[in-house]
Amino acid sequence: MNKLVIICALLLGVTGVVLAQKSSAKSADTVTVFAVETMHGDHCRKRIEGNIAFEKGVKDLKVDLEKQTVTVTYNPRKNSDEKLIAAFEKLGYSAKIVRATAANL
């Protein structure tokens, strides 16, 4: 009985994860690559992740320390590039738009 419950739970878990992964980034979302200065390693990455993720409408976030960029996917009805730039500034980083596209392009 125990084993059965565990196996069921694991299967559910896998399904849940797969569904969760697929459901992000809808076609109406905006994907903007910001050049962010200056990120010095892991603590900067953690700080950006721990804050920008909580800005309105943000759905995905990728910090690239090598390229010094942060790619933000967000719902344009809830946020804008300007507001995100202000959010970076609040953390002490200057951010410029490198590239902005809709997610489906």
Binding site: A9, L12, R47, G50, D60, L61
Partner: protein
């Protein structure tokens, strides 16, 4: 069925985190460059030190937070290599096992300075609160001779939060369904360009009586702990200095519940004072030439009552280590130095120590270590120590480590080395006092001495744009002298004597880890342990040691790292119990395999997080952990036959808050 709902909830949303290893303490500059990470992929919380010549894993803060409760002893719940178990059913003391052998053979370090030696060892894992730790490094096999001759099976180095941390204020509170309460706070201040400090404080309170298995004994002793630590960091050009001060007080009260008339009580009160200072000067940064001096000291006192038995002990320790290191043009490196260790142990236990137990041991020693690089593919580390113990005389510690890089993603390490340890017979076996076995400690116990051999191979295989890491290892520890506790020859006796015959432990472990999907990591491991010791003239399997362990740990963190789900399951193989009485067996000859499931969900907010978790989800409990519990004054009473969990499922909640530097 209800009990599975939480489990279902926990696993059905499995996810993981993607944080990297934070910068390490300045004491380990060589490790900074070792960690090779990908930015987008989730780095595991458990990091194999790829370039290190030692078989070292680093448990990052993220890994430690996967099982939020409570202190160093619980930090290894998600770790395949280190086992944690209760030493007995009454004191709540936890011990670790590495490579199939007791934690006594693992050298404990705090920021690379030896700590928790001698009488502090049995309860020592409870002295470092989880939220205080920045990271833990676990090395298997004999380690560098720079830190001494102990480390027979490995080394555990704890790095506390740093004074110059990014988060100057932190708070953590925790509560469990068994009414254990914990609070931790940390505050760091940068006083000027050169000087910074951090204060860590911890208090826990576990004062409810629980007897869920109905044997009349508390499942967990009631406990209270106050713990403060202050660290200083001073840097001025080429001079660096780190210092630490620490005080701990702990009260434990176990034994029979209040309702029992004239109850059998166990009480242990501990005070511990500790300091260290590590100072280094870089003489020539190009040539990696430096000189370092570490000095540490501690005073530990413990007053214990086990029913009518008394065990009071105090220990003062002083340690100094002076090391000179220099690099050569060809990338080779030499370290030489001298160390001094003094232990002064004063034990009082009228029933067990015929004469007052005063032990003083002074050990001056010299050491040298040479690291040699051949064709960028092979590193050889040769180490040699010569120490003189005032109790055991002169002894040599040779150690050899090698690493062959067949490619960047496939490498093999091999090591062979000797290790020694001065036994503290009563302190290490104090769990036997929670029984009515007649304890005999033979005179003239010798210094413990063993060879350790190890080989391990690691491959990082690219698979679907991610990396599959496979690791296989074999370790053997072979004792030429060991202090052996014989619980077999007579079920009413315990005899501590020198090894007469063979004693060894073999450990084989296979491990695989992979990031299945973005944010979802999985580690699976299996280990087989074969530990045998000559007891009563026969080579026998070491009692109370699981023959194998399987572990599966998985973690998922959502894309924006707002949720994290962790789940760990382990299956601990069965093993042998000390021989029961032939005519009137009160316990079995063997114990069976048992599972342990842990799960935790964490929700992150800006600057703070909350977590909900459960340990031992299946509520597995060892039946009758205390033999003859109804009569603690009778000859059969024995709380030391512990092989599995005593308390059942534990559910906990907690919150962490951090002020961020802006």
């Amino acid at each position: 069925m209800n009990k599975y709902i939480f489990l279902l909830f926990s696993i059905s949303t499995l996810s993981i985190q993607a944080q990297q290893a934070e910068n390490d303490s300045v004491a380990e500059p060589q490790e900074r460059q070792l960690e090779e990470f990908h930015v987008v992929h989730r780095a595991p919380g458990l990091i194999k030190m790829r370039s290190s010549i030692f078989d070292t894993q680093k448990l990052t803060k993220q890994e430690l937070q996967k099982a939020a409760c409570c202190n160093l002893s619980e930090s290894f719940e998600t770790n395949p290599s280190v086992d944690v178990s209760y030493s007995d059913a009454a004191t709540g003391a936890k011990q670790i096992k590495l490579l199939g052998l007791s934690g006594a053979y693992v050298q404990m370090l705090a920021e690379n300075v030896p700590t928790l030696r001698g009488i502090a060892a049995p309860f020592g894992l409870g002295y470092t609160p989880g939220p205080w730790m920045e990271s833990i490094q676990v090395s298997k096999g004999t380690s560098s001779v720079l830190n001494g001759y102990e480390a027979l099976t490995g080394q555990i180095n704890v790095v506390h939060l740093q004074p110059n941390a990014e988060e100057p204020l932190g708070l953590n509170v925790y509560a469990s369904d068994m009414r254990r309460m914990e609070a931790n706070a940390n505050a760091s201040v940068t006083l000027n360009d050169n000087l910074s400090t951090i204060l860590l404080a911890h208090v826990d309170n576990d004062t409810r009586e629980w007897d869920r298995n109905g044997d009349g004994f508390l499942d967990q002793p009631k406990a209270k702990q106050y713990n403060v630590l202050n660290k200083w960091d001073y840097r001025n050009g080429k001079f660096m200095s780190y210092s630490l001060l620490r005080y701990l007080h702990e009260d434990r009260e176990g034994g029979q519940i209040r309702e029992v008339p004239d109850p059998y009580k166990i009480g242990i009160a501990t005070n511990r004072y500790e300091f260290y200072t590590r100072n280094g000067i870089i003489l020539d940064s190009e040539k990696e030439r430096s000189i370092g001096l570490a000095i540490s000291g501690s005073y530990h006192e413990q007053d214990a009552r086990y029913g009518l038995k008394i065990y009071d002990a105090e220990q003062s320790n002083l340690y100094a280590n002076l090391t000179f290191a220099t690099g050569f043009n060809d990338g080779n490196k030499l370290s030489v130095g001298a160390s001094f260790n003094r232990d002064n142990i004063n034990e009082y236990s009228p029933l067990h120590l015929s004469q007052g137990g005063v032990f003083i041991e002074n050990v001056p020693g010299i050491f040298a270590e040479y690291s040699l690089k051949l064709h960028d593919k092979i590193i050889v580390l040769l180490g040699l120590r010569d120490d003189y113990s005032s109790r055991y005389g002169n002894f040599l510690t040779p150690r050899l480590h090698t690493k062959f890089d067949f490619s960047k993603s496939f490498y093999v390490r091999a090591s062979v080395g000797k290790g020694y340890r001065s036994p503290n017979a009563l302190a290490e076996n104090s769990y036997i006092l929670a029984s009515n076995r007649t304890l005999t400690i033979n005179d003239n116990l010798k210094q413990e001495e063993a060879w350790n051999y190890g080989v391990n191979a690691t491959a990082h295989i690219p698979l679907f744009d991610k990396e599959l890491t496979l690791n296989g290892e074999f370790y053997r520890t072979d004792f030429s002298n060991q202090v052996v506790t014989d619980l077999d020859s007579d079920p009413h006796k315990a005899t501590i004597a020198n090894l007469d015959g063979k004693s060894y432990a073999n450990s084989i472990q296979l491990e695989a880890s992979y990031e299945l999907l973005r944010g979802w990591t999985l580690t699976a491991a299996h280990r087989i342990t074969d530990a045998k010791t000559s007891i009563g003239g026969k080579l026998r399997e070491k009692p109370l040691t699981s023959r194998y362990k399987s572990l599966l740990t998985t973690s998922y963190r959502t894309r924006l790292k707002k949720w994290q789900f962790d789940f760990t399951t382990q299956l601990n193989g069965g093993g042998r119990l000390p021989d029961p009485d032939e005519d009137n067996p009160l316990w079995d000859k063997e114990f069976e395999a048992y599972p342990i499931l842990n799960a935790q969900v964490t929700k992150f907010f800006r600057g703070w997080s909350i977590y909900l978790g459960a340990e031992n989800l299946t509520n597995f409990k060892q039946q009758n952990p205390i033999i003859a519990a109804s009569n603690p004054t009778g000859t059969n009473f024995d709380a030391s036959m512990v092989w599995g969990p005593i308390d059942g499922r534990r559910i906990y909640v907690g919150a962490r808050w951090n002020l961020q530097k802006f």
